[in-house]
Point group: D2
């Protein structure tokens, strides 16, 4: 496509070297186009920028000879807009079919298609062999999309939700206009979980009521709430032939979750929703939905009403290209050691302060019981510029995911992917200053 004539300007041998270096630089970009996989080693920002520009230079609003006479022609008034969208001013989607190619935007359409392919190769790298799409909305809204698709494809009208104290999925159900049946949590030592039998019994009840239930399970959540037993739930969904949507917001960063997913995928999962910012370190705004069921993914993509901003898709693509598979594995290792460090430090602190490092199964977050008001402790931490800890009182029903009182007041801290060792150390240190 691109052919420069540089002959005769400098000596032939230098010219050849220049062309060689140029080709070598473009090779990484061409490799992405050819292999359509996450690169082993991340690309430099400069290359990523060039890659994105090449693509957005294919959109018709960039055509110097185009004649634009529609009501929506990706006209922009500021080059800041161009920066915010990397030139993908037409957004993504066509008449609300999110992944459908848009004739006005061949570049954005290729970009989106490539992103999904690269995303799939990334999931494969993690051992998850599925179809995937990048969505232009975050986890919550992506869950709404899945539920809407479940309604359209399977006439689902009620969502069975093993209770987790998170407003987004609850709102996602409400936004999609579906009813929700909560299944209560119970206590097992320090841990909080939802018994599979209760979930099955909820399914049965809804079916008896003449409804078409689907299940929205939660794989990733703050301890002391366990992950839902998605393997058993998948079996239930298979048996009762009902859709199963998994909220795996930060499931891609730790093998604990990945292994659970791999096993459950043998039974019925219609879609797993993950967050691009939590797993792939993008700015907030995008989601990832993956499934063995390509038709269901298509249905999801057809639910979206209208076009959407291309930026969250581009952000996901940027992360995949920038991190590279090798480095992602490294980041996962670091997350694991950070969690170990967090546990060790909190254990020491619990010994010093007569508290308890709660027994929990989360590979990301840890809980320590406290003797004074945990909400006030969290507020103090915020004032000490520690962001992220969550303070929950034993009587806070919403927070505890438990119908009765919980056994401890506690603080949750996270060693999520990308956390810095020094932040783990300093956060526990600040907590010690407050509670000792």
């Amino acid at each position: 496509m691109l052919d420069f004539n540089v002959s005769g300007l400098i000596p032939k041998n230098m010219e050849k070297r220049g062309e060689l270096v140029f080709s070598e630089n473009l090779k990484e970009i061409e490799d992405i186009f050819n292999h359509r996989k996450i690169p082993e080693n991340g690309l430099s920002n400069e290359k990523i920028r060039l890659f994105l520009r090449f693509l957005s230079m294919m959109d018709t609003d960039k055509d110097p000879k185009s004649i634009r006479i529609g009501e929506r022609e990706a006209r922009i008034v500021s080059s800041v807009h161009d920066e915010l969208s990397y030139g993908f001013c037409h957004g993504v989607g066509r008449s609300g079919n999110l992944i459908d190619p848009q004739p006005k935007a061949p570049g954005a359409s290729i970009m989106y298609s490539l992103t999904n392919k690269i995303l799939e190769s990334f999931l494969k790298t993690l051992g998850i062999d599925v179809y995937g799409i990048s969505t232009p909305v975050s986890t919550g809204m992506s869950i709404s999309l899945c539920l809407c698709a479940a309604r359209k494809k399977y006439a689902s009208n009620v969502v069975i939700y093993p209770y987790a104290a998170h407003k987004s999925p609850i709102k996602a159900v409400s936004f999609a206009g579906m009813k929700m049946r909560l299944v209560e949590t119970v206590l097992d030592g320090d841990k909080v979980y939802v018994p599979v039998e209760e979930i099955e019994s909820a399914v049965k009840k809804e079916i008896e009521l003449g409804n078409n239930p689907c299940i929205l399970s939660t794989l990733t959540f703050f301890p002391p709430r366990n992950s839902d037993d998605i393997l058993e739930i998948s079996k239930i969904c298979e048996i009762y032939d009902i859709p199963h949507i998994v909220n795996g917001a930060y499931a891609l960063q730790n093998n604990f979750y990945i292994e659970k997913l791999k096993k459950a995928f043998k039974y019925r999962i219609d879609a797993v929703v993950s967050s691009s910012d939590k797993n792939l370190l993008t700015p907030i705004g995008g989601g990832i939905i993956f499934s063995k069921n390509q038709d269901f993914l298509k249905e999801i993509s057809h639910c979206y009403p209208g076009r959407a901003s291309a930026t969250p898709i581009v952000s996901t693509l940027v992360s995949l290209l920038s991190i590279g598979s090798k480095n992602y594995i490294e980041l996962m290792k670091n997350q694991k050691s950070s969690k170990k460090l967090l546990d060790d430090l909190l254990y020491d602190l619990s010994k010093k302060t007569g508290n308890k490092l709660l027994d929990s199964e989360s590979p990301i977050a840890s809980c320590i019981s406290v003797n004074s008001n945990p909400v006030e402790i969290a507020a103090k931490l915020y004032n000490l510029r520690v962001t992220g800890p969550r303070g929950v009182t034993k009587t806070d029903k919403f927070g505890n995911c438990y119908t009765g009182n919980y056994i401890y007041d506690y603080i949750v801290m996270n060693a999520a992917i990308g956390v810095k060792t020094e932040d783990v150390v300093n956060a526990v240190d600040k907590l010690e200053k407050i509670i000792l």
Copy 2:
């Protein structure tokens, strides 16, 4: 907040001049913070960039002393991400309350709040005295948000939709999980419209069925479909006490629509949805919702499941700051003359070719009848690099918004805000080449 010590480096009088120029430059930015209105004259891109940086430098992920120990800490892996979000990596929203301030992101929260205030001042400039919010999703999804709020606040469960051949609002209803009752269009000369009495009768029927209807009216659409008579619909909604959502996707660019809105706002309108890209020339991805009813706007903002990308909000802000009120008025004038030019050229062409410039009321788009297949003509235009025209056959029921056959095959062209005079001329010229 900012105090530089430049003393002693250059002569005092130059130092004073430097500080004066600096202040003069910052004054435009400070004015935005102080007045919280659309500026009369647009700001330069450089100033807008600085303004956005100042704001995003208030978010906690920029705090060099912060200790970040949450599961979502706006960690990003590439400076391209920073560019794509202008540093608002935490997105907008808190637990799915879109406009609620986010403690981790004071800067983004201020940015969002300011955007809404500036948006309101912009609407006031146009003569529309309402509350307004910028949404991080386009028209279609913004309609879903309004419908969801109508359900939550007024228990609406069915949407009465005076038929317009547009997939996005239809999907918006479906996505929100609501039923739809279409009201058919009828023909009046060349024009297609939905009789108000039929709408009222649809309302009555739904009420009789024990439903809680709301109306989704269409203000802006392709001719020959007229605008819905939103004044009369607003009266009906007031009488029957039912919510009224107006799809005014490109209503802000022409006084024809604005006047209709002003009149209808005296009766019942719960929310008007407009597009940020169609009216404010942003990349695709954001919406604008406005209303006299601040509580309903709040309800809308509380429907959103989770946080959202800040980028569409930032894009709307960039447009408001970049265009300025004076220039927007100018752009509106140009749109009007472009439409006049389009009409004149299409009229001439119709005389030459024995066709008809259809009689329609749209202040944006025009229709010309054609003697051969209009879909093929549109395809030919696409190949001649004309983007935007729409070709509709008389037998295309979906496209015609009409239950029977329409009277003509026709082509629609748009002289929307921002269109270039030469594009109007060239588009008609290309059409002539095809149909003559």
Copy 3:
């Protein structure tokens, strides 16, 4: 060189459109490589950026497989450096031969070679058929380069300088380590000029003293100083066989100067020095040297001690690509009308205030006599934020270019290329406020 595989990602017809738009976009860039001329219409900033990136991606420091083991390997510590040099980190030049290709920097070498070719085509557009080089230093230092070359090639050891009150060329002579013989100015009505006979007589004297003189004439200067009669000086230089360097700092923006150059080029001119910022609206830092004598240009380029920053060369290239020949002609026309306006306004002001619009031949600047201290008036103008006017007292020998007293105190104002009409109006208005 560049071949993307986008097949199979979107429908074939869209793919083709995407490739077409991409090619169309790259065509302007390819045209520059192929034609090596100033484009008729300027390129967009986005295209210019891409063009520069393509070139700097040919330098060996960008080679992902390079092994760098020299003492100077264009290592940079910040991406801000990359921005400041657009990636041409190796600078320009090789062992102090400025235009020689640098094996480590094929891209920068091509960039420099192309810039010179495009510069030559620009000069040709203006009617000046010469060889030209872009220099990485401003007018003053570029004059030093020319003088050094005259010494090396012709053993010149003394510079005959028809006096003009400008420090830069005087320093340029001193920097090159050459002696200077001033030739005094005389008065002709309001005008100040240097008689050609005096110049010739200076040449003779130096030759008699056994020296090898060269002449540094001044084509562009503030009135009331006339342009030197470069036609006659060129004849003298031809007759006496001595080098002739012309200081034509802002000679390219007005045909008055260009015509003088074209005539004089028939006789002896070794080099003309112009400013890239004054003529081509770059930031300060680069120069332009042109000549019929390619060997002398080569000698000049060989005088430079070491490598130099690529940025001033890149800036000149950016201007040539950005402005385009058509728009440059337009800018020249505007300059002419601005000068007419300035004259008219100053004439009116002179009538109102009992002063005189001085009779002068400059096509750029105008002088008005004043009744009070002109230096104080200039200072007041500076305080009123008028930059650029020059106030000269009749007794200021340096400023007046005249050995005795001048006839008036006066203020000089410039309507140089790029000046805004409103600035002309406002500047005269402020002057009126001060002197009325």
Copy 4:
């Protein structure tokens, strides 16, 4: 200077946090203004960009109320120009006094003044307590500036140059229009050096001839050429009262050179010239001149004919702010270990190949003798994408810095500051492949 009103937009406590984070971010910038020293820890690129923007926003061409009526008003035609100069479009210097503040450019003037102060603090960090200026030209041209100043201040007219085979300083002398007296090198084992007595004797001879000599000594050079004995030369210059300019192109990166400088500064050094790219890892284009003699530095700065591009100064500033003193020390340590590694690897290679690692004193570069044509070996290395090695034949008089034949054909490799360990390893590896 900057005061935002963000009150009332978000809750007070968040507002306070936003302001705190903002202040914290600006603090690093304010610290630079207040302390005017190299920061201990480098600033992020984002902060550096903001810092530069704040400064360039003080220049009068950014004044929205300015009226510009001069012939040179920093008008630019492309935002690429703005990027290339970071907005310092007026360049640096006033009437050719390089460091003099420019009334049209208070921001650039402050920037330049600050750069020089920060540069001095950097030199102090290295243990060199001197005055310093950043120059907008590279080492070669900076040497010309020093020589020109020596002529103006001390009437120097001949440069005594202990021979080093480098074209740039030789051209620098020629460019400044001064005569050169070479002092020949002699051999000492493998090393090549210039005997101090010969230098003294050259001084005497020139004085006897009625000339005013100055000495241009070479501190940093490729082995086998030793550093000149600048301590003894400084003593000679003190005794004979003649100027002493030291070419210390890459002297700041290794204590071997710094210690020599510190000792010699006790006697007479008028100026040391260093390279910004070689020591501070900027793109090529700037220099550093430092001295105990502030008056001489001022004289140097007054020699420059005209204004100059601000970009090389900005690049030096960017490096100082970006690296930080702590990291610079680290880089110096790494350079030392890289040199050790290079020596070890070359020693091994010499044993394997029957060659010799030449005995030399350079702390940067190493020489290995070879058995075949070293120029061809260097060419082969270039083709293997190794840049930087220098191949010198024993009969190459220019290259050997020695009047007779040298004892070996040899290859020089450099472990300069910033070199990557893998490049050292790979370069020697490639050499082995060629010569084994």
